[in-house]
Symmetry: C3
Subunit: 274 residues, 3 copies
């Protein structure tokens, strides 16, 4: 697991605040292997954020895996959440709003604190062979079924996704490409998240496009940045961060982002792995 | 602990459903031993079932143990729950309704998710000497006090129980006998769970009788089956399952049962120990 | 962590009760050290008391520490709670009301079950050099800021505290001195917890003074006792206990106290460390 703590600044144009932020994640991975070589296992997390007390185990993801083929049930990863290009950068200490994730959480995803798709007949199949990977996930949340295929070619990863859902503002399809130019990683992702005129429970549909990059600036430090726009943004979203490796699994991280809803967020702190 | 996952089918005559089922149990047993040879310890579980999120530790059972003598407090096992003959089989992946448990949960029992008899002045004494075992438990739930004595003779286990309780539909007394005929285990259990005319909070009293058996059919596979009847059943309950050991602590399990309330349940899945 | 269980007797003058008492504490300390020698870490607990089920992780305390200097955030220890002289004895199995803690919990403190000052911008700095130690803590609970300085001289520890708070019945200042006379430890503590005429949410202010002592009576047994008085007590509070080490991390403990609100409490039981 890991811990992280620091300070977070938020300014929504009306009010601003500077607060302590923290998270502790204890991840428990268990498994057993049958004589025929099939691995059966489960992942669960105990995760507590600043201000939380009496926090329990989240919903569990179970899996059976053999020869590059994996079936998962319960609190599944979700094909879109796991799609290459969606989390190519991890801004600042806390993610700073995640406007750089083109599918905008409009698909099934692993939940670190709740049940996720556990109890919702969440199921997924992941298949990898050489440079090719496919991921299909389904659940009874809006009867979603999503499929992602990705291919790695000479250090470039291309991915395409389609999703069928009863929710008009869920992601319909998405594309991404990412790869390296020397010391830089560049990522471009696009998602069609319903129609701009659709509004479901206060959530508006529309297209979402993200350009993100990471640059190494020295042996232990990198900088990440993104620009993103979406039909449901009031303005263009952008942000920049730095990550400095302090050794021993510890790092200093900080960033600032101007979000699509015109909020400014900044954070600074330490992350340590254990 | 262990994990298990698979599918479960239920048909209550009006509606049927086929759903993912799962459970992850992390069991924590801690203890310390005094210089005089008394072991003091505790057991607690973190257990999450399909659809649950934010699950905490259950009530804790504490014990002091020496020379075959054990005192437990808190979330106690319970004498009836722990009586030989009550869980001689474990049907399918999930238990499939447990109609084959003659005392029908009408006594104190360890709770894997709640407090159980913790906070209820639950206390129990267990004493073993040679082939003889006695178990007395008490709590303030209906002021229950239950005593079970069991004896093992040439591979046959005989057990007798009595319980005093303020609840008219709690178990009054019970008998069981179980043992092996070559590759088969056979178990017969009877419990007097109050009078057939008594109804307390919608729970009816009456007698409950169970005949259960297990047969090894090959080196790694067995089959379990039961027939049970009770005054509070609408019809005779019966079921059958199979358990196939896949090695490495993993097994494939499945079963089907026609329950006393006329519901049909079936399950199929994998269990793995870690 | 540790477990403890036994019985607790309470008599408030009107009603008396004798009940099972228990607690299980699983403490998780994690950390990582940077190349420059700074340790980053976190502490969290899973703690369940008699009668509790479904108990989660408490609020987390995070820290960065180097060369006797430590910064903590989240569910902080609190300067007053951590002040020498406040918990020089630990009466009986359960603490028996803690009337011998002069600051009377009128300052920030680590919470074993809730969020504590996590989410409340709790922050603290602890600095130790040789025999000197300083501890400053602050939070948004009544905008408390507390500072404690302590010095150890020839086996005697002297400590002084001041606190600024928006709550009139919070501790304003405190003093303590404790040390050893041969086989005995003696501790004297005083806290000014607001004015005697102030009442905030039913809590009255006033001075609180405690004299406590521990005597070794044999190789494995000691006795602790205290006398305490406070403006908000109906009568003088006093108590006595014994602790007998049974080896292997196990001990037998028991005590009796007549509290300031005229309640009598007694307990007896076992504690084991693991």
């Amino acid at each position: 697991g890991y811990g992280r703590f620091g300070v977070q600044y938020t300014d929504d144009g009306t009010n601003d605040s500077l607060d302590v932020t923290s998270r502790l994640r204890l991840q428990i991975d268990v498994s057993a292997e049958s004589d025929a070589g099939v691995t059966f296992g489960a992942r669960t997390r105990f995760q507590t954020a600043e201000g939380e007390g009496d926090t329990g185990m989240n919903g569990v993801r179970f899996f059976a895996r053999t020869n590059g083929f994996e079936v998962g049930v319960g609190n599944i990863y979700g094909a879109l959440e796991n799609m290459p290009g969606m989390y190519d950068i991890d801004l600042g200490l806390t993610g700073l709003g995640y406007d750089y994730t083109a599918f905008n959480s409009r698909g099934d995803a692993y939940s670190s604190s709740g049940a996720g798709n556990s109890g919702d007949n969440g199921i997924e199949v992941i298949y990898s062979v050489g440079d090719f990977k496919a991921h299909v996930s389904a659940s009874e949340t809006s009867d979603r079924i999503a499929a992602v295929a990705s291919y790695n070619y000479n250090g470039w990863t291309m991915a395409a996704a389609v999703q069928d859902s009863d929710n008009d503002v869920d992601t319909e399809w998405a594309l991404s490409v990412s790869g390296n130019f020397g010391p830089a990683m560049v990522s471009l992702a696009y998602a069609a998240n319903g129609d701009e005129d659709d509004v479901v429970n206060g959530v508006q549909g529309g297209d979402h496009i993200v350009l993100a990059a990471r640059f190494d600036i020295g042996a232990a430090t990198n900088i990440e940045a993104y620009v993103a726009d979406a039909d449901y943004f009031a303005e263009t979203s952008y942000g920049i961060d730095f990550n400095h490796d302090m050794g021993g699994g510890t790092s200093l991280r900080g960033g600032v982002a101007s979000l699509g809803d015109d909020t400014t967020r900044a954070d600074l702190g330490v992350r340590f792995n254990f």
